[in-house]
């Protein structure tokens, strides 16, 4: 079959994101013997380095350098991809805040199918691609069959595919001339970095982290008392910040802070991939959740099925008496 495979590579400061190599691994699962082309856009010195890194995992690298792509504005990148992508191609994107911005609209313009946030690829049967997705923050999974005869845009969940050691030595081709005349009705202005809060949870060795299971702002005290007793800091999942119960700087996750504690105690947190994506360095993880099937129990070391509002005060009291 003559299906061409592509991957759009994102990068920062001259380094390809990990997702680049994960996309290469995912592409292999669609077709092991099709060579895959990486598309790398940007501006400036680092770009060549990124292309070289990509060439270790991809047979071909299309390098497109232009002022317009100094920052990856999804609306501009879409226009570019529409111009350069052969008909009926399959293109893989990382399901991060850029891929979420680009993927759905790109699929419409390509008249291709779209599959979002894929966690596994089981293979193809003719034009039917079988993938796995999750719903409800990972509480259940689904098999998805997708007709890719007219092409597809496939968003791959960061961290779901293991990159392989590779040294393909792919060929880098400069396609910068394709950038001419690309325009969009949305303009990137600037990036505002995250605010620094009162406590820097990225440096904490022990974190007591609360999620929606804390149920009420007043209950945060329960977690704070445990944290005080063991010498930990309090962090949280996103809904706690959305509710304005804690500062944004306390949020663990892809859109919050990346933490590297030795011990992570998750209280009433379901274990969504965006939350887990902010926990690095394989800490010893304890999860307290009243739902025995909560996805967090798949990744925690120690699980306790209980109402945290009952259990945690018992625990704290015992520790205080030690």
């Amino acid at each position: 079959m003559n299906r061409q495979l592509f991957a759009y590579i994102t990068h920062q400061n001259g380094v390809a994101n990990d997702s680049a190599f994960e996309l290469a691994a995912a592409a292999k699962k669609i077709s092991a013997d099709t060579s895959v082309t990486a598309i790398v856009t940007g501006k400036g010195e680092g770009l060549t380095k990124v292309c070289e890194q990509a060439s270790s995992a991809f047979a071909k690298v299309w390098k497109i350098e232009d002022d317009a792509f100094a920052y990856p504005n999804a609306e501009l990148i879409r226009a570019l991809i529409l111009k350069i992508l052969p008909e009926k191609s399959v293109i893989l994107l990382a399901h991060d805040t850029f891929g979420m911005d680009l993927g759905p609209g790109l699929s419409i313009k390509l008249n291709a199918s779209f599959i979002s946030d894929v966690v596994n690829i089981e293979g193809t049967d003719g034009d039917a691609l079988k993938t796995v997705r999750q719903e409800y923050s990972g509480q259940v999974s689904t098999h998805i069959s997708c007709d890719i005869a007219d092409g597809a845009v496939i968003n791959i969940r960061p961290g779901a595919f293991k990159p392989e050691e590779a040294s393909i030595g792919g060929k880098i081709e400069d396609k910068s001339s394709e950038a001419a005349g690309i325009a969009a009705k949305r303009k990137y202005v600037k990036t505002i970095e995250a605010e620094v809060g009162d406590v820097d949870i990225t440096k904490s060795e022990v974190l007591v982290s609360i999620g929606r299971g804390i149920e009420d702002e007043d209950n945060i005290e329960i977690a704070q008392e445990l944290a005080d007793a063991i010498g930990a800091d309090v962090s949280c999942s996103r809904p706690i910040v959305d509710a304005k119960w804690l500062e944004k700087s306390r949020q663990v996750g892809t859109s919050g802070q990346t933490v590297k504690p030795k011990v992570y105690i998750a209280l009433g947190i379901s274990g969504s991939f965006q939350h887990l994506g902010g926990i690095k360095g394989s800490p010893f993880m304890v999860a307290v959740n009243k739902n025995a099937n909560a996805p967090i129990f798949q990744v925690a070391d120690i699980g306790i099925t209980d109402d945290l509002l009952d259990f945690v005060p018992v625990l704290t009291e015992k520790i205080e008496k030690l």
Binding site: E135, Q139, V140, S141, T142, H143, D147, T191, G256, Q298
Partner: protein, 262 residues
């Protein structure tokens, strides 16, 4: 400003533990409580706040069965001016592209300056907003967590990785998908819902919208859900058992051993 907000009726994950039904064809429906998709409340709140500042109207629209009317009423109780229910047997099992093309057909019947969706749904794929924008040929931004409106143009913030915010200028009309946390959605009580109980909500069918029923619903879907399942969990956590006291004692020993206590 004429604002349209797309809203979806979805299982409420706060009220339910989601499990798979016996034959794996769906999630377990027994005792399932539905509500408005969490993200959509933020979108409607934002629309109401913009309208209250610059004038205009807010319309909420949903594609669903007759039960979906309740989410429209809820959002109207929040302050949306109009509701539209798009409902037809032919729409069942639509994929994302199907839902987006149904919404597109309705949107083209009106004249909207701003179209908002939620960034994603718990049972969705974060796709409708972006698809809709592309179909309508309008500029799009996802994961929006701030909107400032000036004449003919918006300055918006997008939530990106690491707690950072990406500021963009975007021309009107446009489509934005709204991220949670952009505002604090107002509370809706029973009395609020009662107040809007008698407002007429128009229902649109495939033929009202001039839609080819082969292009939507099951017939038009290129992306199909085959089944639901609970994944193999690998090793998983070691679950502590016993009384609360016993579990606490075991946990204290573990925390001591792992450096979790100072």
């Amino acid at each position: 400003m004429e604002i349209l907000v797309c809203v979806k009726r979805a299982p409420d994950t706060l009220e339910n533990e989601i499990t798979v039904n016996k034959d794996g064809t769906n999630i377990e429906q027994e005792d399932l409580v539905y509500s408005v998709n969490e993200w959509d409340n933020y979108a409607v709140e934002e629309a109401i706040q913009i309208r209250d500042k610059v004038g205009g109207s807010v319309t909420v629209v949903t594609v669903g069965d007759e039960d979906a009317e309740e989410v429209l009423r809820r959002e109207m109780a929040m302050g949306a001016d109009n509701g539209i229910l798009i409902s037809d047997k032919a729409f069942e099992n639509s994929d994302g592209k199907g839902i987006a093309s149904i919404l597109k057909a309705e949107i083209e019947k009106g004249k909207y300056d701003l179209i908002l969706t939620g960034a994603q749904a718990d049972d969705g794929a974060g796709q409708i907003g972006g698809m809709l924008a592309a179909m309508l040929d309008l500029p799009y931004a996802s994961l929006v967590n701030k909107i400032d409106s000036e004449d003919g143009k918006l300055t918006i913030g997008r939530e990106i990785e690491g707690g950072a915010q990406e500021i963009n200028e975007i021309e009107l009309p446009c489509v934005l998908s709204i991220q949670t946390g952009i505002n604090e959605p107002r509370y809706v009580g029973i009395r609020g819902i009662r107040k809007v109980a008698s407002i007429e909500i128009p229902v649109r069918t495939a033929s009202d919208l001039g839609l080819d029923t082969n292009a939507v619903g099951d017939a038009g879907a290129k992306v199909k859900k085959l089944d639901y399942f609970i994944p193999e969990t690998g090793d998983g956590a070691e679950m502590l058992t016993g009384s609360q006291e016993e579990i606490a004692d075991k946990l204290i020993e573990l925390l001591k051993a792992k450096g979790g206590m100072k």
